[in-house]
Amino acid sequence: MSKRQLAMVMDLNKCIGCQTCTVACKVQWTNRNGRDYMYWNNVETAPGKGYPKNWQESGGGWEGSVLKDGKIPSLANDYGMPVQMNYEQALFAGTDPWLAAANNPAWTPNWDEDEGAGEFPNSHHFYLPRICNHCTNPACLAACPRGAIYKREEDGIVLVDQSRCRGYRHCVAACPYKKVYFNPLFNRSEKCIFCYPRVEQGIPPACAKQCVGRIRHVGFLDDEAGPVHKIVVKWKAALPLRPDFGTEPNVYYVPPLSSPKYDAEGKVTDESRIPIEFLEKLFGPRVGEVLKLLEAERAKKGRGEESELMDLLIAYRQEEMFKIR
């Protein structure tokens, strides 16, 4: 276990699914050299199969102190081949149909974007941005027979030592979030590095810094003056994703409040559209309690009263969302 842990909070009530984080990450790290298919940061629609396809059912993680078997996703069927468009033809030769995929993809990131679940008018979805969770008990690290994965003492960032990795992919199978990716060009596994070269200079990870919705806070869990400590530890308003996987993630989510359901006459009811069971599966049993807290604090703010939690989540000043030193 590392001495300190740098962590991220993502407020799902503010994510608009614009993928600015995805693009920031991709441009910075994964737009070349065998990484083209990788999304160290992705934003998927929940409910949905996600990226890679059905990652929540792909195994890995812990059963007590024993690693569970996991599967290695396939590029064509689970991640999705980067789609090639017929730009040359469409734009210069004027084919019909006009613009189309030149290959025949079976799956891609965001294949099921905005589909969600439920029947109109009670359909629902929210966006779920995902990066490596830089877990306290990383299954990827435990699964590597070469000790090529390590967790940094000073900030808990989990990294794959590229000089030790021999591309066996036990880490890919072991990560229940499927956030370790195999680079077929270099025969090595790679993953989100929490933008450690930026962090070391006091600059937040690109996904967080570029987020136009101001949903991402970054700070040390034990730093009482930092936003992450306040939201996660003091207010207990953010929860890890799929805590049942046993890896103790260090990305925390402020769970999404739900619109109410309509009844048959079109009247608004007290029931929420996103089933609580669905949220409990994603964020654990405390999610209902957190949603009540959010509602109460939001009501306070609505009445013109003070709410430290709401002020934190509103994030009036972007620089106050990050405290990484």
């Binding site: 064509a76 991640y79 027979p145 070469r146 000790g147 591309g167 890919v172 990716y181 195999f182 077929p184």
Partner: protein, 369 residues
């Protein structure tokens, strides 16, 4: 091949009966003229035929027809995690040829399901093969390194081929599971070919090594070099520790020098002849079955290394040592040891039962192959 082994064992047994006492099988053969006869009789020696000309560049080189192949049994790696429960390739043929300045090996096995590195995939693995040599051998070496990629203090040099390449230099060094690293400036060359359901892989290098981390060959000084084999069936997901491996075998150079003392150091000379059946019963009585998985043990335990195939992978002297002094070689897996005064200590207690029982147990372990 199997027939040959069967005959020699039977012959040794007859000798033992004639002498009417607990005579070690290998020891009985020592009296013969050829110092490596005992090893050869156990099917452990491949003779490197002397040929002329340049180093071969492809597996189909006709000069390998001058070499008598040694059939090498391969066993699933079950000593450390992850364990190869079944193993894909269970037998390979090893041939060797040499000239004045170079040596070449040909490893061949049946593989109906060729597995390449498929370009741009994330979930496929390629077939691969490796040869392993102790960095130090001969009379200067106190004993052979642990056959599973060496051990601290007894490093090995590994020559690695993977179908489709892409894994960096072919020459690697290791001193235990998980320690594999490329040798800088190594000059091993490999070439593989899949044809008619068989894979043939060529490994070549000059006698002299350009790096001190590579094995050297000097047949005029030591004409008998330990070698071990590993093969990966890529189509079944084998890679890294998921593989099949052989025990130590020996390359004998045509016309090379072999000192009888060196060969003697490789032999197993038990003080008491053990009995495998008695040994099997003792495995339960002495508690071995509680931690080690092996055929016939109903306990599905992974506390200690698996013992399936251990008699084929390890030499009896090593098995005996492991029993009496488990900390002498510790398989590098976190669950197998604890640290004491900065030194790893095996969690297995040294065998403290009667000496006779230890020999019975070793005899049982030898039968696991």
């Amino acid at each position: 091949m199997n027939r040959k082994v069967g005959l020699s064992v039977a012959g040794a047994a007859v000798l033992g009966v004639l002498m009417g006492m607990a005579v070690p099988v290998e020891g009985a053969r020592r009296a013969k003229g050829d110092p490596v006869a005992s090893l050869a009789g156990n099917g452990e020696v491949v003779t490197a035929a002397r040929v002329a000309g340049e180093m071969p560049t492809e597996p189909g080189d006709g000069r390998f027809e001058n070499a008598v192949p040694l059939t090498v049994r391969l066993y699933p790696q079950t000593a450390t995690e992850p364990r190869a429960e079944k193993g894909v390739v269970r037998e390979a043929a090893l041939r060797a040829i040499h000239a004045d300045t170079w040596i070449a090996f040909l490893v061949e096995w049946a593989d109906p399901d060729r597995s390449d590195v498929k370009q741009g995939t994330t979930d496929t693995f390629a077939d691969a093969a490796a040869l392993q040599f102790p960095l130090k051998y001969g009379e200067a070496a106190d004993r052979l390194p642990y056959v599973g990629m060496g051990e601290p203090g007894r490093p090995v040099n590994i020559w690695f081929w993977r179908n489709g390449g892409g894994t960096g230099p072919a020459s690697l060094r290791a001193r235990g599971f998980g320690t594999l690293e490329p040798v800088a400036g190594g000059e091993v060359k490999t070439a593989g070919k899949w044809e008619n359901g068989r894979v043939r892989v060529l490994f070549t290098r000059s006698f002299s090594a350009s790096s001190p981390e590579e094995v050297k060959f000097a047949p005029r000084q030591i004409g008998l070099v330990p070698v071990a084999l590993a093969v990966w069936g890529g189509e079944k997901g084998e890679r890294g520790g998921l593989k099949t491996l052989s025990g130590w075998r020996f390359v004998k150079f045509d016309g090379g020098k072999v000192s009888p003392a060196y060969v003697r150091s490789l032999a197993w000379n038990p003080k008491i002849r053990g009995d495998a059946k008695t040994g099997k019963a003792l495995m339960t009585r002495h508690g071995c079955a509680g931690c080690h998985a092996y055929p016939g043990n109903p306990i599905p335990t992974k506390i200690g290394p698996g013992l399936a195939g251990i008699g084929g992978i390890h030499r009896p002297a090593y098995l005996f040592e492991s029993l009496k002094d488990p900390s002498a070689v510790i398989v590098p897996h976190g669950n197998y040891y604890s640290m004491k005064d900065g030194q790893p200590i095996s969690i297995m207690a040294p065998f403290s039962g009667p000496e006779r029982d230890a020999y019975h147990i070793v005899e049982f372990l030898r039968s696991l192959r």
